[in-house]
Structures are given as structure tokens and as C-alpha cells.
């Protein structure tokens, strides 16, 4: 009901008739496009670097350090326990312009810090989806089979393991995308022009546009979830098992 109410309200910008005026206002707003584009780019970097961190970690833990699995799982769950505001204040103390690693001293540095923050926030979802995908294949035997055929680590990881956990990687990527697109705390406190702070700004100053933005934000989330379902349902490869 609240969603239907929001949708209905977003269509009532023109007096006495339903219209898409609120949506056209939003889409024609240059700030919408720039913040949306910025967040999209941040999401892309988060997914790429996050997966480069998570896939080899999950692989290594499964293959060589199974006893460390509970520890790694606990670490990846930390962002759910520690509020984002605490994490970002920690970052600001550690990486401010007068620290040893002054990430916040430049725009690029701050953007990098924002990507790291997003990776941290999405870790619980990314790690779990990749780890679950790895559980469906016999990582050890596949690795040994590739190794004995002469393959080295990059080949094993990117040609034998990665394609077989792609459904998990994509699931993690879509969840990460949805998180990054709506994230407010990190972007606002690091003063970056992301979509989350823009949503808040519009919400505080306009009437119909926030409703339209809320509907757009929901649509993005649903699209991500739909793609996630699609990927997991049509995963092409089944593991070869006796």
C-alpha cells in the first residue's frame, strides 16, 4: 500500500491529472544524471575490486585454509554489526589529509576511499554468494586436475574456477549494485556527489520528485533482484559429479 501510494503521488504533479511530470523533472535534472552516473561508476569499481578481493580469498580459504573459514566469515559479517557511520569516522581519522595515507587529501583519493567503503559494506553479501557458489563445485579436485595438466595459478583461477562460480559472482554483483546506488552515510560524510545524498537532498526540498525518485530506486533494486533470479535460475553449468 505505501508503495502504491508513493507511485500514485509521484504521478500527481500536474494538478487534476495523472502525468509523468515528476519523472521528467527528475530525468532532466543535471544533478540527477551526474549523481546517478557517479554512483554507477562507483558501483562498477566496487564490484570489480570487490570480486578481485573476494573470489581469490574464498577460493584460498576453501582450498588451503578451511580451518580459517569461521574467522573469515566473522570478519565479512563485521559491516553488519558496526554501523556505517562508525566505519566512516574511523576512515576519516585514519586517512585524513594529515595522516600517513591521506586518501581524503584529493578527490581521486576520496573516491578510492569511497570504493573501499562500499566494498566493506557489501562484503557480507559478496562473500556469501561466492562462497555458496564454490560449495557447489569440487574446488580442490578441479584445482588439482588443472594443476597436473600444467596450469599455473592465474589460469586455474580465471579459467577453471571463476567461470564455474559466475552465478555467485553475478548475484554478489547485483546486490552490491543495489547497495551502492542507495548508500547515503559514506558518500555524504566523505562529501562525494553520489546518488544517495542526492535522494536525501531532493527529499528535503521538493514534493513530488522524491516520490518519483523513490519509485526509481525501487525499480533499480527490483531489476537487480530480477537479474539475480535470472542468473541463478539459468546457471548454465552443472558440476560434473559421480
Amino acid at each position: 500500500m505505501p508503495l502504491i501510494g508513493t507511485l500514485e503521488f509521484s504521478l500527481r504533479m500536474r494538478r487534476g491529472a495523472y502525468s509523468l511530470d515528476a519523472y521528467s523533472t527528475v530525468f532532466s535534472d543535471i544533478q540527477f544524471r551526474s549523481t546517478f552516473g557517479f554512483s554507477m561508476l562507483m558501483a562498477l569499481f566496487t564490484i570489480i575490486f570487490g570480486m578481485l578481493l573476494v573470489v581469490p580469498t574464498a577460493y584460498w580459504v576453501r582450498l588451503r585454509l578451511p580451518q580459517m573459514r569461521p574467522v573469515v566469515e566473522f570478519i565479512t559479517l563485521m559491516p553488519l554489526v558496526i554501523p556505517a557511520i562508525v566505519i566512516v569516522f574511523g576512515y576519516l581519522r585514519l586517512y585524513n589529509s594529515s595522516s600517513w595515507i591521506p586518501f581524503t587529501g584529493s578527490t581521486q583519493g576520496t573516491n578510492m576511499l569511497l570504493v573501499f567503503s562500499y566494498i566493506t559494506l557489501s562484503l557480507p553479501y559478496m562473500y556469501r554468494s561466492v562462497d555458496t557458489a564454490m560449495r557447489t563445485i569440487d574446488v580442490r579436485t578441479l584445482t588439482e586436475a588443472a594443476e597436473i595438466l600444467g596450469a599455473k595459478w592465474p589460469t586455474i583461477l580465471f579459467r577453471c574456477i571463476f567461470p564455474n562460480v559466475m552465478s555467485g559472482v553475478l548475484s554478489g554483483a547485483f546486490i552490491t549494485f543495489a547497495i551502492v546506488m542507495g548508500e547515503f552515510t559514506m558518500a555524504a560524510l566523505l562529501n562525494r556527489p553520489a546518488f544517495g545524498p542526492y535522494l536525501q537532498l531532493i527529499g528535503a526540498n521538493r514534493a513530488y520528485e522524491p516520490a518519483a525518485l523513490a519509485v526509481i530506486a525501487f525499480a533499480i533494486t527490483w531489476l537487480s533482484m530480477g537479474l539475480l533470479q535470472l542468473v541463478s535460475r539459468f546457471g548454465k553449468f552443472a558440476p560434473s559429479r559421480p
Binding site: 588439482e144 594443476e147 597436473i148 595438466l149 600444467g150 564455474n164 558440476p239 560434473s240
Partner: protein
């Protein structure tokens, strides 16, 4: 020098010694099976040859080159796993081509070799299938082709037939042996199935608790088991407890009968216990049966198995089982009946502990 030499191999995981001083030499083109129960160390030896495990002590030499310190990817060894281990994201052709691509072979050479390998396993028509679209037997044949494609110097087979049903197992083991003979590749086969090992091997290594109890041809292993373990693990040999009468004359007492053995008794003293093995097919109850030795036995049970009748007897306190061909005219021995068992004294074997 032999092609594959394992010299005083030892392997421990923590305080547990899994392989204890294992040595053997394998000739080029030979098919050797490691046979033993679970946990006897056979797979660990295989994994050390592959380079997945490093020996705690000892050396592995292949074709004159010490393998210690070499990575798995540098050893040029082919391996077939129990769980097939085909790459699910690749087609049959891509799986077979994998080792060649990794080695950086030219495209034409890869194509030709893949075709050759698929022809060898008679699966050319399934080149574009994915592993999940194939049966277990087909997958394992692809795994064999993949292992052979890069022309490895040694082929390792880690219980490749265990996950298959009985009929496929028999046909695939014959196919493996035929391909091995055709290519003349040195092969080490790990199994816990005695029939498998006896039927396809040039030599068998019977392993027990991390050691090789006996190394020999299938015939030697079956007919002349060196230890009680080999006798009990391979086939269904009967173990009869006897008493040494005269070590110099090789005579022993089984119940009330004194029997002269062909094998030397060794260091056993007169009056001491000794274990004697007798194959189940060596004896007969028929009066006209060939045999220079007789023993009295009491029938415990008798089972009709079609071509064979398996009868259990109590012979001087030891349980002895005989397999005799079915004869429609002979009645089944009845439990409690006392019969005379005939066999050749040369069939009695002295077994070490």
C-alpha cells in the same frame, strides 16, 4: 635404471605416519596397481608421485630425473580422478584441449590431438557436449583422454572406476588397459577392488598400513600370498592354524593329520604354531579328485551359487571354505555331515604374519 623409482618414501601428517618406508621400481610401459584397504597409504603414494604431497623422506625419480622439489605442473604427469574432475564450463573438446592450450601448442596441433584422443575413446560425436550432459562412464573416458592428450610420461589413475556401476566398470577397465597397451604409457592404478587389480595389472603392490606387503604379478599375489594380510585381502584364501611337527621335513599337524608342505617352514620350531593358506578352489570332496592329501572336515553350511557350490567346513578348529563346480548329479553337502577333503599338498602355503 627403471622408469619410475620410489626410494624409501615416507610420509607423515603430524604425528601420524601414513606411508612407512615404501620402495619400488616401475618399468617403462608397465601397468602397476596399488591395492589395499582404505587408509593403507596407496592414494598418498600416488599423490606424492603427482606432486600434490611432498614426501617427508625419500626420493621419487621419473625417467632419471629427481621429482623432489618439482611442482605438479612441471612433472608432465597425467591423472584421472575418482570424481572425474572435468571442468564444467568447458565442452568435451575444450576439456581435452586444456593441457595442450596451457602448454602453448599451436592451434592446428591442438585440434589434431583432440580429434585423435576423442577417436581413441570413441566419443568424437560428443565433442561439443558439456560434462553434465554425459553419463558417468562417458565423463570418465573424457577425463582419460584429457589426461593423455599432453602425452604425459606417467599416467596415474586414482580409483577411476569406483563411482561407476558394475557393468560399466568392467568394460571401462578393459578399455583403459587396451588404451594403455596401445600407447605403452607407464601407468599407476590405485584401487581397493582386488578383481580390478588382478584383471588388468602387470604387477600389483598390496599395501597394508603404509607398507608394501607384497609386490608381484597377479598370479603370484593370488597363488603365493606372502603374508596373512595379502592372503586375506586378495581372494578368499582359507587360513588353517597348524602345529609344526618337523621343521627339517616341512611337516605340520592339522588336527590329527600330518601333512608335508612344499614350502620351507623357515624358522618355526617343532611344536610351534604356523598358519597355512589354502585357496578355496584347490580342494574337492569327490572321491576321484586329484590330491595327495586328505583332511576330515565337518560341513557347517553349503550354498548353491549356480556354477559353483560354496561349502564351509570345520577343519581342526579352523573354518575352511571350498568352491566346487556344480554337478547336477551330486547332492548338496548337508550341515553336520563329516566328509573327506582332498587336495594337493603343494597347494598349502606357509603365510607370514
Amino acid at each position: 635404471m627403471s622408469f619410475l623409482v620410489l626410494e624409501n618414501i615416507k610420509k607423515s601428517f603430524g604425528a601420524t605416519a601414513v606411508v612407512k618406508d615404501f620402495s619400488m621400481s616401475i618399468e617403462k610401459g608397465e601397468f602397476v596397481s596399488f591395492l589395499g584397504p582404505s587408509g593403507c597409504g596407496k592414494t598418498t603414494v600416488l599423490r606424492m608421485i603427482a606432486g600434490f604431497e611432498s614426501p617427508s623422506d625419500g626420493t621419487i625419480v621419473i625417467n632419471g630425473r629427481n621429482q623432489n622439489g618439482l611442482k605438479t605442473s612441471q612433472r608432465n604427469i597425467g591423472m584421472v580422478f575418482q570424481a572425474y574432475a572435468l571442468f564444467p564450463n568447458m565442452t568435451v573438446a575444450d576439456n581435452v584441449a586444456f593441457g595442450l592450450k596451457v602448454a602453448g601448442k599451436p592451434k592446428e596441433e591442438i585440434g589434431a590431438r583432440v580429434n585423435e584422443m576423442l577417436k581413441l575413446i570413441s566419443l568424437e560425436h560428443l565433442a561439443d557436449r558439456y560434462p553434465y550432459q554425459m553419463s558417468g562412464g562417458q565423463q570418465q573416458r573424457v577425463a582419460l583422454a584429457r589426461a593423455l592428450a599432453p602425452k604425459p610420461q606417467v599416467l596415474l589413475l586414482d580409483e577411476p572406476l569406483s563411482a561407476l556401476d558394475a557393468k560399466i566398470r568392467v568394460s571401462l577397465r578393459e578399455e583403459i588397459r587396451q588404451i594403455q597397451r596401445q600407447l605403452g604409457i607407464t601407468t599407476v592404478f590405485v584401487t581397493h577392488d582386488q578383481e580390478e587389480a588382478l584383471s588388468i595389472s602387470d604387477r600389483i603392490v598390496v599395501m597394508n598400513a603404509g607398507r608394501a606387503d607384497q609386490i608381484g604379478t597377479p598370479s603370484q599375489i593370488y597363488n603365493r600370498p606372502a603374508t596373512r594380510f595379502v592372503a586375506s585381502f586378495v581372494g578368499t584364501l582359507n587360513i588353517i592354524e597348524a602345529i609344526v611337527v618337523d621343521p627339517a621335513a616341512n611337516s605340520v599337524r592339522i588336527g590329527n593329520s600330518v601333512v608335508t608342505l612344499r614350502d620351507p617352514i623357515g624358522t618355526s620350531k617343532s611344536g610351534g604354531p604356523i598358519s597355512i593358506a589354502l585357496r578355496p578352489e584347490a580342494g574337492s570332496m569327490a572321491a576321484d579328485a586329484k590330491g595327495d592329501t586328505t583332511l576330515a572336515g565337518k560341513v557347517i553350511s553349503s550354498h548353491f551359487l549356480g556354477s559353483v557350490i560354496r561349502t564351509k567346513f570345520d577343519v581342526a578348529g579352523s573354518q575352511v571354505s571350498f568352491d566346487m563346480f556344480n554337478s547336477p548329479d551330486s547332492p548338496l553337502p548337508q550341515p553336520g555331515e563329516t566328509v573327506t577333503l582332498r587336495f594337493l599338498a603343494s597347494d598349502l602355503l606357509v603365510v607370514r604374519e
